[in-house]
């Protein structure tokens, strides 16, 4: 790996730590009775109210349609994910220090795998949250489910839900792009490949 590429991988690894400073994802809810808006910030290790006590308010509202309450301290992913990010960070730094292409490839594969798994898991959590409804709920609307969107905006009864990646996720995405760029350059622009071609 070139010195420049090693620095880039260092930068990408450090960028991963942004998830400890900024939320990954933001879900905003709007309804006529909530002109001030409600929302959730999804962090690597927590789900927090956008405005004070929003989680409680959202849980209050959702219990009518039988959705489970969001209780951040029982979501297992929030316990595991910080360690995965730290693992990815340590591996990235190791890769940049040692500078071996095989390590780079391994790091990148793990990274892609984890990012993909994370999104799939988030989607599945949303699916479960929106579909797995209490059969004794007060309000039951045939055929209606309340899965929030992974990305974009969706009208759910009186509530307009908007879901967007936030700074944490954007930093991960950018780190991944940097990783991919370095990998591409290393693979196709290296002297070895040039000799072969």
């Amino acid at each position: 790996m070139t010195k420049k590429h090693r620095i880039l991988i260092t930068i990408a690894s450090v960028m991963l730590l942004a998830v400890f400073v900024f939320p990954l994802w933001q879900i905003r809810l709007q309804a006529p009775q909530y002109p001030e808006g409600l929302g959730l910030n999804i962090w690597i290790n927590n789900v927090q109210s956008l405005h004070p006590h929003n989680i409680q308010t959202i849980n209050d509202l959702n219990h009518y349609i039988g959705m489970k309450a969001i209780t951040p301290n029982v979501i297992p992913e929030l316990k595991i994910m910080p360690y995965l990010i730290i693992l990815l960070f340590v591996m990235g730094i190791t890769t940049s220090l040692i500078g071996k292409r095989s390590l780079l490839m391994g790091w990148l594969m793990l990274f892609v795998g984890m990012a993909g798994a994370g999104l799939v898991d988030f989607y599945k959590w949303e699916y479960n949250y929106g579909h797995n409804l209490n059969p004794n709920a007060a309000i039951k609307i045939p055929g209606m489910s309340y899965q929030p969107p992974l990305l974009g905006t969706k009208q759910l009864l009186n509530i307009r839900a908007t879901s967007i990646p936030y700074i944490g996720a954007l930093a991960i995405g950018l780190a991944l792009v940097i990783g991919g760029y370095v990998f591409y350059k290393e693979k196709y622009n290296s002297p070895k490949y040039r000799v072969v071609s």
């Binding site: 004070p52 006590h53 409680q56 308010t57 209050d60 009518y64 007060a138 309000i139």
Partner: protein, 662 residues
């Protein structure tokens, strides 16, 4: 509508306007009874938009403060102060009952007169609103972050707490002075049980100075001054150069005790009492005067628990005029003056002559000169009387009949209410000349200009607090709301903008720009900060506890159920306390609590708050309770049952929600 019909309507409308104009063209200010051409635009606040001013009006005999938005005149809220409110439980709940304690016992009602903002550097700061009870001498403090009454202080050795609670420039003190002189216990008087006819010998009055804690607003009766037994009517602290002084009007310097309308209207001049409060306070703190026994109640909401508690106090420091040489003076004022107001510059003091045809304007500088020259015309009870001519800057003539109060626009003009001639009269402070006048409907008492009683009036509007309503609104039987009138005073001429009816009988009002207080509003109480001794923070902590014949129900309320909602094991002869905690943490989601057969009140419980009500069942049976505040789509389902069994039954305490009790 056809074209012809439209033409006809315009024609008829035109005739109506012409007739109206003719009818009122005789008015001196050339304005119609209907108002101003573009008045609608000036008072229109579109849906979803806010007013620019809060207006706080006393309710008089409602005992409360009503809050209106200006310029729309929309009724925003009513703050219960001295009157119990059975709709939300104020004064009935265990948390608020103590606010109503006095040395006479529990008093469920009061007569609010003068709302008064706290001040900083002579400017209204919007931290607290103080208001007096005229009937049983008390001062209340309303917290303007919550719009709630947090404190009520009773005042001993006085009666008729009318000239109260005006504030000094930095809210160091609030005024209170006796309107109805009374006989007092020794050593202040000759005992309280004396013949009424011995008024001149035995009746006494006091001026009270209530100190305000600058950090939390808590009130303390710092000292009282004995004053002659006149009827002290209104008061004001000075501003700017006069800020160390306080001024009170009085009538009944005749010292009459019966048929006052005649007997207190005999002398040509009554007085303004001027006191250098700053120096008096220093002397009091040096230990001058006498500590006398007096029993009075101080009721305060504990900021930590949000529960009101009563402290019974037993002592007060009293000073005599003879202790205060050079610090108290009488200034003569024309016949039975009513209102007294200090101009924003602090240079002039103007009274409402009431039975006089002029408004006297005293100069503070002239007063100081007269004091230096020691130019007096005698004294009463050791208080020197200054010469009327020496202290008077000018008399405002042609002010209408029955002038009562003045207020100021900060641009050099004063506005006076004339009760009998039913008008507002604008006059120039410096020259004393009347420059404009406008009819009011009918008989204005007080008037109020935003910040008009401070160093920096915000001006723009003037609110006339009319005492007589009659035909201004749809009739509602013999009694009706009082009618307020909003004027635009931004130009040279008074422009009538709006009539709006208000609760009770406001005696005074205070306005403040919305931005001073709207941003700091408490929207709900944080559950983690709720330290009520009977709080239930989580549903799983809800419980019912028997202790002898006392049963405490610790209940939670959240959309849309109570926990517990089925309770058994209450017996006849029990005293039941129901402590409901609203565990919502969201703006404008109160829950109500009402129980069939409950004899005291319903309750409204704000998010994060605990309220407790006492219930002594008188019947055996199962009694439904429910939420009275439409909280949610399933509000109607927010209900439960309490079973009351005979005294000798063996039904055990059981409770729960969403299960059958066993």
């Amino acid at each position: 509508m056809s074209f012809q019909q439209q033409i006809r309507n315009i024609f008829v409308g035109g005739i109506a306007i012409a007739v109206t104009a003719l009818m009122f063209s005789g008015c001196s200010s050339n304005k119609s009874k209907i108002g101003n051409d573009n008045a609608a635009e000036q008072v229109y606040v579109p849906p979803g938009k806010h007013d620019t001013f809060y207006s706080f009006l006393s309710g008089g005999w409602t005992g409360n403060i009503s809050v209106y938005g200006l310029p729309s005149g929309r009724h925003l809220y009513t703050i219960p102060v001295f009157s119990q409110d059975p709709t939300d439980g104020y004064g009935y709940t265990e948390e608020t009952k103590a606010l109503f304690n006095t040395s006479h016992g529990f008093i469920p009602w009061g007569d609010t007169h003068h709302p008064e903002f706290s001040k900083t550097n002579g400017i209204d700061d919007g931290r607290w609103l103080f208001v007096n009870d005229n009937n049983t001498p008390r001062i209340a403090r309303v917290n303007l972050k919550t719009f709630r009454t947090d404190e009520i202080l009773e005042l001993p050795n006085t009666a008729g707490n009318h000239a109260s609670p005006f504030t000094s420039s930095n809210t160091e003190y609030l005024t209170a002075i006796t309107r109805f002189s009374i006989p007092m216990s020794k050593p202040l008087g000759n005992g309280r049980d004396v013949p009424i006819a011995s008024y001149k010998k035995n009746f006494k009055s006091t001026a009270s100075f209530v100190k305000v804690n600058p950090h939390n607003g808590e009130m303390k009766l710092d000292f009282q001054i004995m004053v002659p037994p006149f009827d002290y009517d209104l008061g004001r602290f000075g501003l700017g150069p006069s800020k160390d002084w306080v001024f009170f009007t009085d009538y009944n310097s005749e010292e009459a005790h019966t048929m006052l309308e005649i007997n207190a209207s005999q002398k040509d001049k009554d007085f303004v009492l001027a006191i250098n409060w700053k120096k008096v306070a220093e002397i009091a703190h040096e230990g001058k005067g006498q500590i006398v026994n007096a029993t009075y109640d101080h009721n305060l909401v504990d900021p930590k628990t949000d529960v009101a508690k009563t402290e019974v106090l037993h002592k007060v420091r009293v000073l005599k005029p003879s202790d205060l040489k050079g610090l108290m003076f009488f200034m003569p004022a024309p016949k039975s003056p009513h209102g007294i107001n200090v101009t924003p510059s602090g240079e002039f003091i103007a009274e409402g002559g009431k039975l006089s045809t002029v408004i006297p304007v005293q100069s503070f500088a002239k007063m100081e000169t007269a004091i230096q020259k020691n130019d007096t015309t005698g004294s009463i009870s050791g208080i020197p009387i200054l010469n009327y001519k020496d202290v008077t800057a000018h008399e405002v003539k042609n002010v209408g009949l029955g002038p009562l109060h003045n207020d100021f626009d900060g641009k050099g003009y004063a506005y006076a209410t004339a009760f009998i001639s039913s008008e507002i009269v604008k006059w120039n402070i410096k020259t004393g000349k009347v420059v404009d006048r406008h009819a009011t409907y009918y008989s204005p008492g007080h008037l109020s200009i935003p910040g008009g009683d401070s160093r920096k009036p915000w001006g723009h509007y003037l609110l006339a607090l009319n005492k007589i309503t009659k035909d201004r609104y749809l009739p509602t039987g013999p009694e009706m709301f009082a009618g307020e009138q909003l004027f635009d005073i931004s130009g040279n001429k008074l422009k009538l903008l709006l009539d709006f009816p208000v609760e009770g009988e406001p005696h005074y009002a205070q306005e403040i720009p919305a931005s001073v207080i709207d941003t700091g509003q408490v929207k709900y109480f944080k559950l983690e900060d709720n330290h009520n001794p009977y709080v239930t923070r989580k549903e799983k902590d809800a419980k019912v506890v028997r202790n002898g014949h006392r049963v405490d129900i610790y209940m939670t309320a959240i959309r849309s159920h109570f926990m517990p909602d089925n309770i058994e094991g209450i017996k006849m002869g029990d005293t039941v306390y129901i402590h409901v905690t609203n565990i919502e943490q969201e703006w404008d989601i109160p829950h109500g609590f009402a129980l069939m057969g409950m004899r005291n009140a319903g309750m409204l419980i704000m998010p994060g708050e605990t309220r407790s009500v006492k219930w002594e069942p008188r019947q055996v049976g199962v009694f439904p309770f429910y939420c009275t505040d439409f909280c949610s789509a399933l509000h109607q389902e927010m209900q439960g049952y309490i079973r009351v069994s005979p005294a000798n039954s063996n039904v055990k305490i059981v409770y729960g929600t969403n299960k059958d009790l066993k």
